[in-house]
Symmetry: C2
Subunit: 397 residues, 2 copies
């Protein structure tokens, strides 16, 4: 287990964040991830970090806040959070975020409106700006926990979850670094093929879904490695199986139904359906958890617009495991997804289009809309309809 954790930490530090000599580094984790967090701190120092800040969070204390704190505490951003991010930006630092629900039942029974609002808004907004402006070389990895395993399998089969995670992040390969290089290149090729077509919009059709999403002329698809504004390569999600861009926040029409459950703020949203008019959500339905989504959409004006469209095909290792992970990092890499809230400004080349068309918000919530029964087409400016995904197979070449 020590070796497994060490290899995972090294992967997150070397391929994920790609920590460089002399960098200020943040490691975020729940206290239940302590073993992996500690190994990550050590790996970061070995990679040359000048200082590693280990920021632990505690979901039990978070539930207490949701239950007991005054209303204004829910969205308040502690100066401890803000000032550290400002330092990360000023120093061109690195960030490694370890996720993975310690206890899937922790937020059961919490007030949904308070749960939906319980995020530090200024901090989220600042973080999303750093991401959008590529100020930090960052990565997210997930740490198996007994609670997360129980949520997936109905029993705390930690070993089984570890093996799935290792498969998805290519630690089952004899040379994970080479496997990652080949994989990132393939995702880059998919993005290039989409960029060559310069689609005007995307169309999603399937059960409960008929949605048109407009792109901007200078919307560029990204996939594989990211690069910071100061030229440092990193892999922002591990696993990553997606190609993505920012849509035009003003152009979304129709309905879309989620195809997988969404773990959100520690609670579960199932059967989510959103209706869009002129780019904005006008109706929210869900079998479960609609209130959490509604609370998020009310956080600021940008929350109700689309910020991201992402395509994932059947070659996804995450999708191939056939497992629903109840974890966005994994589930969004199993199948195509979209996000309401903030868009990634760096995906739009033209400054005017970026300013007017990319959504800005403290919210960025991905939800899964792909699957073999969902057809995704690209529409060109001249009205041509080009299939992009059929039966989850990528159609462009």
């Amino acid at each position: 287990m020590v070796d497994r954790i060490q290899r995972y930490a090294d992967l997150a530090v070397r391929i994920g964040a790609n920590v460089g000599q002399g960098q200020l580094v943040e490691v975020r984790a729940n206290i239940e991830h302590a073993e992996l967090a500690r190994a990550t701190v050590a790996a970061a120092y070995r990679a040359g970090a000048r200082y590693v800040q280990l920021n632990y969070s505690d979901d039990v204390a978070r539930r207490t806040m949701i239950d007991l704190a005054p209303d204004e505490a829910l969205s308040w951003s502690s100066p401890a959070l803000l000032s550290f991010l400002e330092a990360l930006e000023a120093e061109q630092g690195a960030s490694i975020n370890i996720v993975g629900d310690p206890d899937p039942n922790l937020f059961v029974g919490a007030d949904q409106a308070r749960l939906g609002r319980a995020r530090p808004s200024d901090y989220r907004r600042l973080w999303l700006r750093l991401v959008a402006q590529r100020r930090v070389n960052w990565t997210i990895v997930a740490c198996p926990t007994p609670g997360w395993a129980r949520q997936i399998f109905g029993e705390p089969d930690l070993e089984r979850l570890w093996q799935l995670v290792e498969r998805c992040v290519r630690l089952d390969e004899s040379d994970p670094v080479a496997a990652w290089e080949a994989h990132l290149e393939r995702l880059g090729d998919m993005a290039s093929l989409l960029n060559e077509r310069a689609f005007d919009s995307l169309r999603y059709r399937g059960p409960g879904t008929d949605l048109m999403v407009g792109l901007m002329p200078s919307s560029r698809w990204h996939g594989g490695p990211s690069e910071t504004s100061f030229g440092r390569r990193h892999v922002a999600n591990m696993p990553t199986e997606e190609v993505f861009t920012a849509p035009d926040r003003r152009r979304a029409e129709g309905r879309i139904r989620s195809t997988r459950p969404l773990a959100l703020n520690g609670s579960l949203v199932e059967g989510l359906e959103l209706e869009f008019r002129q780019g904005r959500v006008v109706e929210v339905k869900a079998d479960r958890g609609a209130g959490i989504v509604e609370a998020q959409l009310g956080i600021d004006p940008g929350a109700a617009s689309l910020g991201e469209v992402a395509l994932v095909d059947s070659r996804s290792r995450v999708g191939a495991t056939g497992v629903t992970y109840f974890n966005t990092l994994y589930d969004e890499n199993a199948t195509s997804h979209i996000a309401f809230g903030a868009g990634f400004a760096f995906t739009v080349a033209d400054p005017d289009e970026r300013e007017e068309g990319v959504s800005r918000s403290a919210v960025h919530t991905d939800f899964m809309v792909g699957g073999p029964e969902v057809e995704i087409d690209g529409l060109t400016g001249t009205g041509q309809v080009i299939p992009i995904l059929r039966d989850d197979v990528f159609q462009l070449s």
Copy 2:
């Protein structure tokens, strides 16, 4: 156990920090103290906190830093730490610090000079200023852990340690609040008796000890409850069994030998002997851990002067347990102690004496010098010698 932890958290919040309606509150803890930390967060919200920041630290990651980080990381203060303390000061907030070594062997074999320097200097300096200027209503409590119990008893007898802790913090009383009020009043009376005498200096004599420490004309003894500059009462240490003041940093002559082991920066210092000339340490000896003390004394010019003298008599509940706790909060309340490094400015009334006579430093390290074999006298300005402690019994009345 849940009830025991809840009662302890309530005591720390209500009698210790005395959290008030609308206060910003910090809870500091090791991740191994999570259960008590979580209960403390809940108790603070119930007491009216507007926001509770839970700051976890991790000694395993700290050991990694000491082993692997570049030299300048050791004393660096993260902006996350600094900005939160600044907010606490600006808002007149509260702080609850939960201590208690999770693993007594964690720092064995670490480089002693690096261990001694491994403290965030600017942060420590800021905290000590807030304490000295009484900007925050704060308390320190200790959380029993299996590792701490093993260090004391040689086995991880957690239940035995809990019972000792409950005895020392008066949770074994049917009405702990009333017991605390009576106790705090007694400590206040001791301080008054010392203040009436207005001693010019103290003299310590015992095996290996013959030390004179000068006081200032306006040095005032404190004991029992503290009060912030904004008028909020709190109990800074739980347990507290001491009366204390700031000596004149320029007046200490002779030798003093510690009477108990000192747990310092996660390591152990035993048989410590310090020699003072003109107020400053000129020689350090120890059976074990001298290097850590030497490293601390080198941190800044103020570290080598005395910052505190504190008297504890045989009525101490901590002392009465007959246990060495290897934890400063407990051991310093078992017997009389002194501290090198920063002094508490608020104990000196005259601004000029405060400015010139109170030590300023990022260091404040208490060590135990009391016991039945140590005689402590007060010397008056006219040369009278008045016994203060004999056989650990307080002599003034």
